[in-house]
Every structure is written in C-alpha cells, then in structure tokens.
C-alpha cells in the first residue's frame, strides 16, 4: 500500500525487520540479539516492542530498523517479517505496514496467513521453524529465525554466535550449543531462500556507540542531574526505569522507595526535596492522575520535584503496553488552581539523558515541579546510538545560609526565586505551606499576598533564560513542522526526504512545552507561510495548546493520530509535499 508513495519518496537506506509470535516464542529475545549483533557489525539500529496484554505467552512483536546512521524512528514499511505464528494477529497487524516488495517468512505450523497480510501483496514464504528446531537438542524456533535473518541480512555468523553465547551463558552450555546449532541451521535455510537484504554498515569504529533504552536514558539523565531520591509505584511502561534506578541509586549514595501508591510517591519526593535532596518520581497516566494534587503542593510550597510520565494509550487504564502522547493535557493543565510549572519532553532516546539532566536543573533552579513527558515508544525502544554528549549542568538550588535576620522563605525577589533553608541550617527554620501565605510562609487569605505569591510563582518561570534548549530548531524554508517528543524522529526523516524532493522544511521540535517560549517560537516561525503540527493524539492536544498561546499562520495544518502505531516518516512526508512539489 505504501508502494505508490515510495515511488516519490525515497526512504532512508534502511532495513526494517519485524518478528512476531506468541506463546513464549522469544520474539523479544531474538530482537535484542539481532540488534546487538548488528551493532557489533557496525550498524545503527532501533528496536521497538509491541506487546499484548498477557503477562507471559501473549503475542508480541519486536520491530527493528537498521541503518548506517542513527535511527530515530520506524520506517514506512517492513522489508522482512518473520512470523512464528499468527495468534491474535489482528491486535498488532496495523502496526506492521508492508509493501509489495516485502517478504514474509512464516511458519506453516503457526496457522494461516491473515487476510491483510495476504492483501498487502508481499511475498509469502513458508519456512518450517518449529519442526526444524525440534530436530535439534535444546533447539528453539526463535534461534532458527535468528539464523534466517542473519544470512538474509548478511550478518557475520561469528558475531551472532558471540552475542548469543554471551547473552545465554547463564542458561548453561547445552542451551548455548542448541542455540548455535539452530542459528546455523537457520542460516543455511536462509541462504537457500534467495532474499537479499544486506545490513547497512556505518563508517567508523563502534567504541563510542551505546545501546540504551529510553527508560534507561531518562534514569541516567536523572542521576547525572543529581537526583538522589526516587519514590515510585510500579506501572507499565515506567516500571523498568524504576527497576534500573533502584540499585544504581543505592550505589551512588541515594535511595529509592517503592511506595504504597502514587499519592505516597509524590509526597515522599516532596519530603526528600524539602530535606535538600533532589528528588523524582516516575509513573504513567493513571499514576499521573493521582499525583496532580502533590504536584500542586510542590508548586505552592516551591519545593523542587521532577515527575516523569511515561505515556501509554489512554484514557483510564487504556492500553498499558502501547504508546501515545495523550497525557499532554494533564501535564500542562492537570493541577487545580493556578499552578505554573515546567513541562519538558525529550525529542529522542539519547536526548532523554540531556532532557532529564536539564529537568532536574530546572526544578532545582526554579524551585518548582518539572513534569517530563516520555512515552512507551521512547521508553521501551532500544537504540544503537553515538554516546550522548556530556553536558555538565551545575544543579543549583538557592539555599539560605545560617544567620539571615528575619528570614522570609517566600520573599519577593527580582527573579522570583527565594532562598530555601534546608533543615539542619541553624536558626532558619520555617514552615513550608500549600496554603496561600505571606513572604514568611504564614498562611494568608489576603488578596495582596495571594496576588504577590501568584506573580512570584508564575514570574520566576517566565523570566528564566532557557537558552537554546527550549526546542531543536533546524533548517529553513517557508514551511515548518512543529512537533514534540517521540514524533520528532519521524518528522526529522520526513523533512530530510522532503528536502530531497526540493521542498525545504524547518523543524521546530519543542523540548520545553511549558512555559511556552512564545517569543522564541514566533521568531523561529518568522517567514513561515505554512505550518504542520505533528503529534500522536486524537483530539489534537498539541495543536490546540499552541493555538491557545500563539498566533499561528493562517495556513496551519494538524497531523494527529492516536496510538498505538507511531506516525511514519512517509505519511508526514506525503503531507508536507501535498501541493508543494
């Protein structure tokens, strides 16, 4: 179905491989091994996971893309699909677009090929993986598949074997031997298939490349930013970040508490931060909903906290295992009363390191709540990237030193930030309060105190110098795409492709969502006659948010689609080229 488009839009020279299966087929294991082996051979890559609701044995897909440069999004379609079986295929088939040139290797033991796959016109090749694996001691079908892919893509068998041996070493020699035998068998089968899909190999050594997930990248950024206390409650797809952080905080002088719920999480980090320790919590939509009262307290009491919301499909419990950007509204507006705070979002997986470091810095500098919006797509995808640059933010909380006369915790200052006395500081005790208060912190119902403190809390955010970090702005031309978060990768590729078609397009990928840098945004939009706003929501939350604060050009379009399928670079390119080229 994408073929018509493809005639005009040159895709990035990349290889997209989808592995699908259910019932403990080990799809994700193969995906990871494939990613690692390709990385070792010199490719860049990205692996997205798409899982069903089952805890074990449910259907799942490992969706990979390889290129000779860092991969920031899925491609328009998959070149190669390996299917162990088709159970519950209807649940994810829409997430695996195919072209007529695609190849689908499917195990006949896994059932009939579903209609939409047949319709796609892709080449269907039955390959017995199950039966072959059974013939080998400790054999498993997923390792046969790994062999198939390796020969089709020309991966070095040696690298594969090394990767597999390392990763399965804890499972015992027999398992490793069985796996290697399967890989060899698969590779042989693959060679006989007459499909060639050589892996794009990048120049240069792999020493400075990392393999990292978005959840890990956020966790690392938080650690680098100085977070030393985390409280959290498990929730998909955020738990993995907590699990990554727990032992690492314990090893860096910090501490993580698994709280009884999200109400406790957010209040625990408020307590820790009040004690002077940079603190963070991590959750997803439902937990976010439970935290807004606490976030409001952080704003009112001017206690720095960082809250990461790893977004998933909503509303309500929604689709816990799949991605969406639909918590934008609650992040921007979810607090009662006037609760000005900061909202940031990483524009890619490696950027999560920077964005989190910055988020901690902003929370501490501005003594407010900073909400970070990640999503399942960023969080649970794993990439091969160049080591993210080390940007040494100095986290600075303005603290009050002992001996200040007549200390006023909430003093009105030029920049709106007032010195915070950390418990332990002699003679500086005060009571932090979520009631409206005067400069000292004493509760006040007076309209003057209210207005002054409202102005203080809002003013400190507006007046702050966010530097260049507010957005990634690239390119020129009279068309601009304004986007954010996990859509940025696909947008970037679309812009590159449009450029190749002679249509230059500017990128404005917001990293700072609130407060909105309206002046900088207007400046970035200067000379732009057409704007495309790209986001993964249903109700165009981002588009409406921009409208609410900025006068967009008359010719402004919105490209919004809910999850779970990520927006593809092809559909964005198509939209950009309409009427232009």
């Amino acid at each position: 179905m994408y073929d018509r488009l493809m005639n005009r839009i040159q895709e990035l020279d990349s290889r997209s491989v989808a592995l699908v299966g259910s019932g403990g087929a080990g799809v994700v294991t193969v995906g990871n091994l494939l990613l690692e082996a390709a990385a070792a051979d010199g490719s860049y890559g990205l692996m997205r996971r798409s899982a069903g609701p089952q805890i074990r044995g449910g259907e799942s897909a490992a969706l990979l893309r390889f290129a000779d440069m860092p991969v920031e999004c899925a491609g328009d379609y998959y070149h190669l699909v390996i299917a162990f079986d088709w159970r519950h295929a209807e649940r994810f088939i829409d997430e695996i677009p195919l072209a007529a040139s695609s190849c689908v290797l499917h195990d006949p033991a896994g059932g009939d090929v579903p209609e939409p796959i047949v319709q796609s016109g892709a080449r269907l090749i039955p390959v017995e993986m199950q039966t072959q694996a059974k013939e080998i001691e400790y054999g498993r079908a997923n390792m046969i598949a790994l062999g198939l892919v390796s020969s089709i893509t020309g991966l070095k068998l040696e690298t594969i074997s090394k990767t597999v041996s390392r990763s399965l070493s804890t499972k015992g020699e027999n398992v490793v031997a069985g796996a290697c035998a399967c890989i060899e068998r698969g590779a042989k089968m693959g060679r006989s298939l007459d499909i060639e899909l050589p892996m794009p190999i990048a120049q240069g050594g792999t020493e400075d490349r990392w393999t990292i997930t978005g959840n890990q990248a956020c966790g690392l950024g938080a650690l680098k930013g100085g977070v030393r206390f985390v409280a959290g409650y498990p929730i998909t797809p955020a738990s993995e970040m907590l699990e990554w952080l727990a032992p690492r905080l314990a090893r860096t002088g910090g501490c993580l508490i698994q709280a009884e719920d999200e109400l406790a999480s957010v209040n625990m980090i408020l307590g820790a931060s009040y004690g002077g320790v940079p603190a963070m919590t991590v959750t997803s939509g439902p937990g976010m909903a439970l935290m807004t009262e606490g976030i409001g307290l952080a704003v009112a009491s001017e206690t720095p906290i960082v809250v990461i919301d790893v977004m998933r499909g909503g509303p309500s419990t929604g689709i816990p295992t799949k991605s969406e950007q639909t918590d934008l509204n609650i992040a921007l507006y979810g607090m009662h009363g006037e609760a000005p705070h900061v909202v940031v979002a990483p524009v890619s997986i490696p950027d999560s390191v920077f964005t989190l470091q910055w988020a901690v810095n902003l929370a501490e500098s501005l003594q407010t709540a900073v909400i970070v919006l990640s999503d399942q797509l960023l969080a649970q995808s794993r990439v091969i990237v160049n080591r993210p640059p080390d940007i040494g933010f100095i986290t600075r909380r303005v603290t009050a030193q002992a001996g200040v006369e007549n200390y006023r915790r909430y003093a009105l200052t030029a920049d709106g930030v007032s010195a915070m006395a950390i418990p332990g500081t002699i003679d500086m005790s005060y009571t932090a309060d979520g009631l409206e208060h005067d400069e000292r912190g004493t509760p006040s119902t007076g309209s003057r105190d209210h207005l002054q403190q409202l102005e203080k809390r809002a003013g400190k955010l507006i007046g702050f110098d966010y530097g260049d970090h507010w957005a990634d702005v690239e390119g020129d031309g009279t068309i601009a795409v304004v986007t954010w978060g996990s859509c940025t990768g696909a947008v970037k590729e679309a812009i590159r492709r449009a450029g190749e078609q002679g249509v230059p397009v500017r990128l404005i990928a917001l990293r700072l969502l609130a407060p909105l840098c309206t002046q900088q945004l207007n400046q970035a939009l200067e000379g732009v006659r057409r704007v495309l706003v790209v986001e993964q929501t249903f109700s165009r939350q981002f588009y409406h948010y921009l409208r609410s604060q900025v006068d967009l050009p008359k010719f402004t379009e919105s490209l919004a689609r809910p999850g779970p399928s990520p927006l593809s670079p092809g559909e964005i390119t198509a939209m950009l080229l309409v009427g232009e080229a």
Partner: protein, 278 residues
Amino acid sequence: MNPLPGKSQPKDYKSDVKPVWCPGCGDFGVLNAITKALASLRLPPEQVALISGIGCSSRVPAYTNVYGFHGIHGRALALGAGLKAARPDLHVVVAGGDGDGFSIGGNHFLHACRRNMDMTYIVMDNEVYGMTKGQASPTTAPDWTESELTPSGTHARPFQPAAIALAAGATFIARAFSGKPNLLAQMMVLAMQHPGFAFIQVLSPCPTFRPEQKEWKNIVRPFAVDALPTSDPALAALHCQRDDGMSTGVIYVEARPVWRRSNMQEIAIEDIEQEFRL
C-alpha cells in the same frame, strides 16, 4: 542527633505565630507537650522537622520553631517518610488529626507502621473533622448524629487506632490525653527515643464541635493493667479490644529492625555509563 549544649526551654521551641485554634481546643495542650518534649530531649530545633497534613491539628508546625511542612490532607506520613529516607540524620515528627490520619490518610498509616521508619507520629484525635466544621471522622461513634452529613449516624464501627497500628506493625503504640501535657510530653520523649515507628493517639477535645468532650478530663485514666506496656502483640491486642478507648499509657513496644536504606558499594556515574557501551 546531638543534644543542645546550653539552655532548652519549651518556649525556645515556640514560634510567634498565633494559633487559629478555638479557645479551649485540646491542640494547645499537644503543642505544649511537643515543645516540652523537645526541650527535655534538648534537641536542636534545626535538627527536628515537624510534618503535617490539613486540619486544625495539622496547623501545629507553624506554631513551633523547628522546621515544618504543612502539606496536603492525608499525606503527612508520606511526606515524613520521604524526608526521613532522604535525611536520616533529622528527627522527623509527623502530626495531624484523626480525619487526616485515619480517613484520607489511612493507607499511609498502614504502610508507615509496616515500614517502621524511625519517626514519631502524633494524631490529635477529637473524633471529628474540626477544620471543615464538624463532620464525623473514622473514630466517631456510629450513633453520633450531630452532623447533617450523617443525620442518622455513620453506621460504621469506629476506627481503632491502636489495634490497627498493632496489626499493621507499629513498634511503639501509646494513647494519651492532651489535657495532661506533662504526661503527654513524657510519652513523646519515649516515642522520640524509640528506634522505629512510634505512634501516639492523643485524645484532644474539640470543644467547638464536640462540646461533650469537655468531659473527657473526667473520664480518661491510665490503663489499669500492670502488663502494659507489653511486647507481646497478642496481649496488646487483647487490651486494645477490652478497653473503651479512654485508657491512656504506652501499650506496646517492640524491638524490630528499623527501616534503612540499602547499603551498596558506591560507584561513580561514569562506571554506570559503562553498561551502555556496545
């Protein structure tokens, strides 16, 4: 915790903020007892944090001169736990009302007892929501019909703070009366010295919405059993159940390891980054 070297008077722990409390409110006695206890422990004010939720009773931090956080309704224990975990050097005291602690905050109470962090929790129990003008709280008798919100009573068994604390795992459990601030102060000293989660239910009358509680001073009496305090949970449970809720004293003391942070060998963040290399 280093005790203060020099003087240490209760008044040294009072702030100049005037309480919003009604005349005759029991919470005055609790405030006095807190300052007395701190003075008798000679704790430097800057090493003490008094954390609360929302309610008349929860206003107490600002009336002292220790560090305070007047948080949101029902979440004081979580706030306190985060502070204690991040700053184990501080002496953390959490205070609030029966509504704050047992109604909206009930879950944190359960888990604070389980966790057994080294902190003190003081609940000023007046069997009513004072701040919101007189509704039934979890400790209110089921047949109390003075609130229009529950015109024929709550139809629910009153919450038994001591029994729940015991079942949940608190390691120091006591009941006291705000009308006897000296006794209360002594009990607070024991609670603050106790390593682990120490809970004191303070009967603290609300003359405004529960005028009949003015009679409490004639009803409360020490537990009439030599066996208390005990470290036998069965015995403690028995006495909690047999009591009408008006006996005061330390009920239960248990020596259980207090919550502590995981102690793992320290490494640098650069070392952590190694794991991402290919």
